[in-house]
Symmetry: C2
Subunit: 306 residues, 2 copies
């Protein structure tokens, strides 16, 4: 640990509001958390790489820091769990230094405060490489238990929590992780399966299907297309952007038809419209336009190993 | 998630032995763990950057993977806690790919098995940058509680768990994290404060002092110098290597004199010699050679932000 890091840790400690769940924050060999019960622990961990997951010059450091935290909060949301603490590792390009580290941290801090998530530890190094951020969030299931990807059943209704497509025009940096909404939904109905849409609607619903051992049909007319997707003029239609673009970070979930009916009629989550976009079936993966079904390819945003 | 990542996750799942503590491993939005009680959770998180923390061509991928896990296990050891699960994020240079990912994983797997640590999740991406690994380990305090850096008191004896210096000649890649030894020690005596030596003996004992609000004197003749340190012929003496080199990953700890006396006389940890190398004092930071005290500079290995 260098003098610079000691000073940075001092700064971090000053920035960090005390939290009864954090027994020990930055500055020891490890952080210590006191969880409130024996409810299962949830751990989400994601790495953001400059040039591949963000462009620093375009996005600015605060939004990059925000995104590194937000993608993990979105994963916690997809389990219908509560975030507790975040651990942030940063590799800084050698010529940058303290200012960049502080701006990244500020972007995280704002979102962390909004979601009652303590930034409880991590590690900041400089190196001869581009900017890299790795965030791990520890959370906890509510007393309703966790929602996995694997519980969808044929006949279940498929929902999404918001308009899709074109997130590259801004939403991939500024989206609000659906943490509270997921917990509220899980209190109101029995969520059979859930995922956050990071790889694109088609691909992520396909993940739900393969983990659940079933198929699905998506109704083209019911899929909410974002205004950003409509404004993109390229070889893809707005619907294709909604189906295949990545990083919407809305939730897709499965519920029994009776619960689905109730959600549609009551729209019980304040500030959130729930879109019923299809059904799960025993097999196959389809897009239905008017009366015609065509096979849907589980294509999507490939931002990872491959 | 790409086809490549799906296949990699399938491979990971096959490699991953089932573990009753892991409710949900790789492949969902987040992992889920069932902890055994309300004992405090411990979270260690560290990032290893190519060119700065390791040289891939020199070390080989297996030892790099091993080190990424081992440095975090060492942090868990320094709290006298038990590791439970590891989360591994990897940024792969684009031209490398699957083979490198597997070799890194294999190095981790062996160590993880030895320390009953499940590899329960993570994220593997490729990018136009050097290799980067970020590992987070979730562990749990034993019923003896956690050992922090802040509990050393004037009069306490200072111990280290092994010879120091020259780790660059190999030990920084092959060291055994002192997980079991720390837990055994903590059962036998009241550990007031503990740290793992990653930044060098002088600097890390100084961290114990500043967190505990006290000083210390180190006895030069008592400091165990590794044979690797003795074989280095440069401008530094072997003792200086033992004092200032980094990444020994031995533990330095503080106990009451009566416990210290008992440890010296009984050497109760099988396969481990405990070296009594100094005392904590009310203030100051000293090296004592024969009868002469000189101020000790808390210099050390600067591998981080600064």
């Amino acid at each position: 640990m260098s003098a610079g890091e000691l000073e940075y840790i001092r700064w971090l400690r000053q920035q960090t509001p005390s939290d009864p769940r954090v027994l020990l924050g930055p500055g020891d060999d490890a952080a210590a958390l006191q969880m409130s019960s024996e409810r299962p622990l949830v751990v989400a961990s994601d790495m953001l790489l400059e040039g591949s997951c963000f462009l620093l010059a375009e996005a600015g450091a605060e939004l990059v820091g925000r995104k590194a935290l937000a993608v993990n909060l979105s994963d916690v949301a997809a389990m219908a769990a509560e975030p507790v603490a975040a651990f942030v590792n940063i590799g800084l390009p050698r010529q940058s230094g303290r200012r960049l580290a502080e701006d990244l941290y500020r972007g995280m801090r704002k979102l962390a405060d909004r979601f009652q998530t303590a930034i409880a530890g991590g590690d900041t190094n400089s190196w001869d490489g581009p900017l890299v951020l790795s965030v791990t969030i520890v959370g906890q299931a509510t007393d309703r238990g966790l929602v996995q990807r694997s519980g969808a059943r044929p006949g279940d209704w498929l929902f999404v929590t918001g308009p899709l497509g074109g997130s590259i025009r801004g939403k991939h940096l500024t989206f609000e992780p659906r943490v509270e909404e997921a917990i509220q939904l899980h209190r109101l109905v029995d969520l059979h399966a859930m995922i956050d849409i990071s790889d694109g609607l088609a691909r992520d619903v396909y993940h739900l299907c393969s983990e659940s051992g079933c198929g699905a049909v998506l109704r083209a007319q019911a899929i909410p297309v974002s205004s950003a997707a409509k404004e993109i003029h390229d070889q893809r239609s707005p619907l294709e952007h909604a189906l295949y673009d990545g990083e919407d970070f809305e939730l897709a979930f499965a519920v029994a038809p009776s619960d689905g009916q109730w959600l549609v009629e009551n729209q019980p989550i304040e500030g959130l419209h729930l879109f019923h976009i299809g059904q799960f079936e025993t097999e196959g993966f389809w897009l239905q336009q008017d009366e015609r079904r065509t096979p849907l390819e589980p294509l999507g945003y490939e931002h990872r190993l491959g």
